[in-house]
Symmetry: C2
Subunit: 156 residues, 2 copies
DNA sequence: CTCCATTAGTTTCATCATGAAACTAGATTG
DNA sequence: CAATCTAGTTTCATGATGAAACTAATGGAG
């Protein structure tokens, strides 16, 4: 059992996310799915990845509830892969990755696209983290706390 | 050249970020570094990863300007690994991954920690995306545009 | 209905990456 | 200066990846 370590049982939520999304292709598949791709062949030609790897990734994403197979929207007998709410929920991760690249990449001139506000066509601002009361938070304004034990029924 | 495909030259900023951070360990190393870890042995024992892999990752992260080696803060002759601004800039990525897990994980009761506002001790809100003018944007409110060609000197 | 092309995979095989353990050089401690 | 600790490197077995060939089912042309 020299297996590539899994973070499935890890208590850290970051590790748990990485267990599902942290390989080289899953997030790119989700990116394309958000962009509207649905068919095996579309993913394969757009991403240029090996078909066996794509098949394995799609299976994993379906198993984890990130994609679902749907019985074809154009009437053909083939199936399609569509994002579940869980899959669409990965959007902020993609935005965060994009913005990190936009801000820190050594060759930003090679970046082909920018994410813009559809209405105005202007670049979106950086992701913001806010407190419950609305205050804008910087990393230093945050800290980690142990998760409170889930209370059963009512408070003690 | 059956090498694991690199996204280094890819025009997609998400792929470019994944090229630097998209392996199983890099983001966890950054997480620990944000938490204050600095020494090789600290990372190794905290993450429980093989030392050769850790050494390779640290080297890669230093090469990419995400970590820097510093000549020891406690006077010893060993070196330390500290985050650069580029490394600290990955904070939103970690928050996005954490929040995705908090929202969609099948076993959220296994998650040990929550990210809170230091001042109030209350959980932070989900990351928000805003337009330049401050409007809150949903994914559907955004679209991709080709990056405008960089103008030289003045406008045409 | 038949034949051919397309789609969506699976199989095979070579190579790369990962992980565990042993090993090592230099730093630190007693 | 001997024992130990730190920070790695080396070695080797195994798992993951990728390219290409192969296959079964579908779709389309005539």
């Amino acid at each position: 059992m020299v297996k590539r370590t899994s973070f499935e049982g890890d208590a850290c939520p970051i590790a748990r996310s990485l267990d599902a999304l942290g390989d080289w292709w899953s997030l790119l598949i989700i990116r394309e799915a958000l962009f509207g791709l649905r068919r095996f062949g579309e993913f394969q030609s757009k991403l240029g990845m090996a078909k066996n790897i794509l098949a394995a990734r799609l299976r994993s994403l379906v198993d984890r509830g990130i994609l679902a197979t749907a019985p074809a929207s154009d009437g053909s007998a083939y199936q399609e892969y569509v994002l579940t709410p869980k899959g669409r929920g990965a959007f902020p991760i993609l935005v965060a990755l994009r913005q990190w690249s936009e801000e820190f990449d050594d060759h930003p001139e090679e970046i082909a696209t920018i994410l813009v506000d559809r209405e105005k066509g202007r670049p979106v601002k950086k992701l913001e983290m806010h407190a419950e009361d609305g205050r804008l938070l910087s990393p230093a304004d945050t800290t980690l706390k142990p998760r409170p034990a889930p209370r059963r029924r009512s408070a003690s």
